[in-house]
């Protein structure tokens, strides 16, 4: 049943063939205290040249989703179900299901940093403290293209650093990451990620550790690079302002599931899921008179080991339907019919019995 629903989602996805399709992805952590359903049935598509924003509060599974796609989920975590199809450029072979590839096999290695690259929140952890920024970029380039000589790779590294707007790149190429300021380090991290021309850039909270003026620089940079190279971006953030500014489509996550998926304007203009609505009302805004109280959501995100039954949002939902929401899991289903309808996972929109499945966990 679940899988059939997932296929429906694929067919209703927007526009031309996607670059990445994630279906019913479940990544769980098997710890001593119990099983954490970090990602629990996630569905979405990523399209070339577009930005998919993934938004949600701490612990909702954004980073685990990213790690699952790159197959770098650490123990005791494991993908337990679902598929992640990477589609080749038109006419160049069949899509591959990354879930079926060996984590440390040559195919997956070629994809990591080759087709799909990752930028983290904290660039310090992605750079080695004992190698210069340049050497790490050179190494990455040569790992994916054995025919590249050291000298050529160095030229390319300098070119990459220039492209991301690092001044005096010919000198900075020989510096260490710790010698750069936060903003420059994040630029260098992006240069490293783009060194092999990835088709998909996954940016996990790329500006969260930065000041607003530096954040503005990095967001402009990502927009420019996407326009120049046509790559897809999956932008993970908890900042709805960043989402509004950067994303074409948005997936809102709550407790390991996508609860709403919509084009960005639609999501902000008419949010459909009760969680999305509440979340949007609770953001502080510059466009209010000073000293205004904010709307709040009752309670807090439950502990991952205390996952509510049924719709995971039901204990905090103001409009929960007694008898249904606490015992059944709503699926992510389209509302409306257009070519790219919004998808919502809520019994208000899809009454129980109409495509919903029984609680299974």
């Amino acid at each position: 049943m679940t899988r059939m629903v997932a296929e429906d989602v694929a067919r209703t996805g927007s526009g031309p063939a996607p670059l990445l399709t994630v279906r019913d992805l479940c990544t769980w952590y098997f710890s001593n205290e119990g099983v954490v359903h970090a990602v629990d049935g996630v569905n979405f598509d990523v399209h070339a040249g577009r930005t998919l924003g993934i938004v949600g509060e701490s612990g909702c599974g954004k980073s685990v989703t990213a790690r699952s796609i790159l197959r770098i989920v650490e123990k005791p975590g494991r993908i337990v179900r679902g598929s992640i199809h990477l589609h080749p450029p038109a006419g160049q072979g069949e899509p591959r299901d990354l879930v079926q590839l060996r984590e440390d096999g040559p195919e997956m290695r070629a994809i990591q940093g080759g087709d799909i690259a990752l930028v983290f929140q904290e660039p310090m952890t992605s750079f080695s403290p004992v190698h210069t920024v340049g050497n790490q970029i050179i190494e990455t380039i040569r790992l994916h293209d054995r025919s590249m000589t050291k000298a050529l790779a160095r030229d390319r590294a300098i070119e990459m650093l220039q492209m991301v707007g690092i001044p005096r790149a010919e000198r900075r190429v020989d510096e260490f990451a710790y010698q750069l300021s936060g903003g420059l380090r994040q630029r260098a991290m992006i240069a490293l990620a783009l060194a092999c021309n990835p088709r998909l850039l996954i940016a996990d909270e790329p500006t969260t550790a930065l000041d607003v003026t530096t954040q503005a620089q990095i967001l402009e940079l990502l927009k420019r690079l996407q326009a120049e190279r046509g790559m897809a971006i999956m932008l993970i953030t908890h900042n709805l302002g960043v989402i509004a500014e950067m994303a074409d489509d948005v997936a809102v996550m709550y407790l390991g599931r996508v609860v709403e998926h919509a084009p960005v304007r639609e999501l902000f203009r008419s949010p459909q899921h009760p969680y999305t609505r509440a979340l949007l009302r609770s953001i502080p805004s510059l466009h209010v008179p000073p000293r205004q109280a904010l709307a709040t959501i009752e309670g807090t995100v439950p502990h991952p080991l205390n996952r509510p039954s049924g719709c995971p949002f039901h204990p905090r939902c103001e409009v929960a339907i007694a008898g249904t929401c606490e015992s059944h899991v709503p699926d992510l289903l389209p509302i409306g019919t257009g070519p790219a309808p919004a998808l919502v996972s809520c019994f208000l929109h899809h009454p129980f019995g109409d495509g919903a499945r029984q609680e299974t966990n």
């Binding site: 509060e57 300021s181 000041d211 908890h238 709040t296």
Partner: protein, 344 residues
């Protein structure tokens, strides 16, 4: 709430400086100074909120710590109106006589994870300041802690638990309860919601607004998040590279800033509305290293309005007719963009 010019000044900071020595070489000789806080002056009236905003490293935390003497100021005075009605200079009090002052000035930290002793129960954590300040009776303390927990939205039954059992937002509530225990008049809050999720952040901001009205609290609210600041403050002071570059009524600073840095800062905040096309000012380069500040106006290498004089002249804070202060040679001639506020 607009500024009430009749309200007495509770905190008056003048010429506050905090320099950290830079040592080098075998003999750790002092080769220069980081001017983390350089000649900062402002006042806060009773029952109002003054927000101190700026980007990381501009000196907000150091200012807050120097005011509370958690860091010894290099120069300046911090005059505080005590409950008994006398004005004391916190910077010249002998350390031993700071304790009664501490009752009246409390601090809330940014990081709810590291600011609470993990080996103390909530009863001990919140009751400790009461005990230190002479509340001997255990049952009286317990009653107080119970009332405080309820007031900040926590269940009194949690009293026997340790902080690790609580989420970030709940720990921030514990920190607030602890700070409130002694009925302070001034709360200095250093980024109290920066580590929290959006929905939890909203709850804590509302709690701070309510507590202020209920207990007549005065807040010095330190934050880098301008939208958060807008929801809480009466007046705003903007810091850049250790100095205050602008101070004014919150609605004026947001809608009609008088310093180019404030204008750029406001325009950089991503708007949670995809329909609004913001005219973003992207600043070049980074915040200057406080050990090597540019000459003249410290903002001049990044300022799109800079003229020759900005590179050499010391720029003082100067007021317009309404008392809105800015440290910019061209403040009177420039018309800077702020954010629009809908009329309600």
């Amino acid at each position: 709430m607009a500024e009430d010019p009749a309200a007495p000044v509770l905190l008056d900071v003048a010429g506050l400086k905090k320099y950290f020595p830079i040592r080098q070489g075998l003999f750790r000789r002092v080769v220069g100074h980081v001017k983390a806080v350089d000649d900062v002056s402002f006042f806060v009236r009773k029952r109002e909120t003054l927000a101190l905003v700026g980007e990381s490293g501009c000196g907000k935390t150091t200012t807050a710590r120097a005011i509370l003497r958690a860091a010894e100021p290099t120069a300046g005075t911090v005059k505080f109106l005590t409950r008994s009605g006398s004005v004391v200079d916190v910077t010249s009090e002998p350390r031993a006589s700071l304790r009664p002052l501490r009752r009246e000035m409390q601090l809330i930290f940014q990081d709810p994870w590291s600011s609470l002793n993990p080996r103390m129960t909530l009863l001990d954590l919140i009751g400790e300041p009461l005990l230190v300040h002479g509340m001997r009776s255990a049952s009286e303390r317990q009653g107080q802690v119970e009332a405080l927990l309820k007031r900040v939205g926590l269940r009194p039954e949690y009293m026997g638990r340790y902080p690790h059992a609580f989420s970030g937002g709940q720990r921030q509530r514990i920190g607030i309860a602890r700070a409130l225990a002694l009925r302070p008049s001034l709360l200095v809050a250093d980024e109290p919601v920066s580590a929290l999720d959006v929905s939890v952040q909203a709850q804590i901001l509302n709690l701070l607004l309510e507590l202020q009205l209920e207990f007549g609290l005065t807040y010095l609210f330190v934050s880098h998040d301008l939208a958060v600041v807008k929801h809480l403050s009466d007046r705003v002071a903007v810091m850049y590279a250790g100095r205050i570059v602008e101070i004014g009524q919150a609605d004026r600073v947001f809608s009609a800033p008088r310093h180019p840095y404030t204008e750029a800062l406001l325009s950089a905040v991503p708007e949670p509305n995809p329909e609004w096309k913001t005219r973003r000012i992207v600043l070049e380069g980074d915040v200057p290293d406080p050990a090597h500040l540019p000459t003249g106006c410290a903002f001049h290498p990044r300022c799109r309005y800079a003229i020759d004089r900005c590179r050499t002249e010391e720029v003082p804070l100067a007021a317009d007719a309404s008392g809105h202060l800015a440290r910019c040679i061209r403040a009177d001639e420039l018309t800077l963009a702020g954010v629009a506020t809908p009329v309600v």
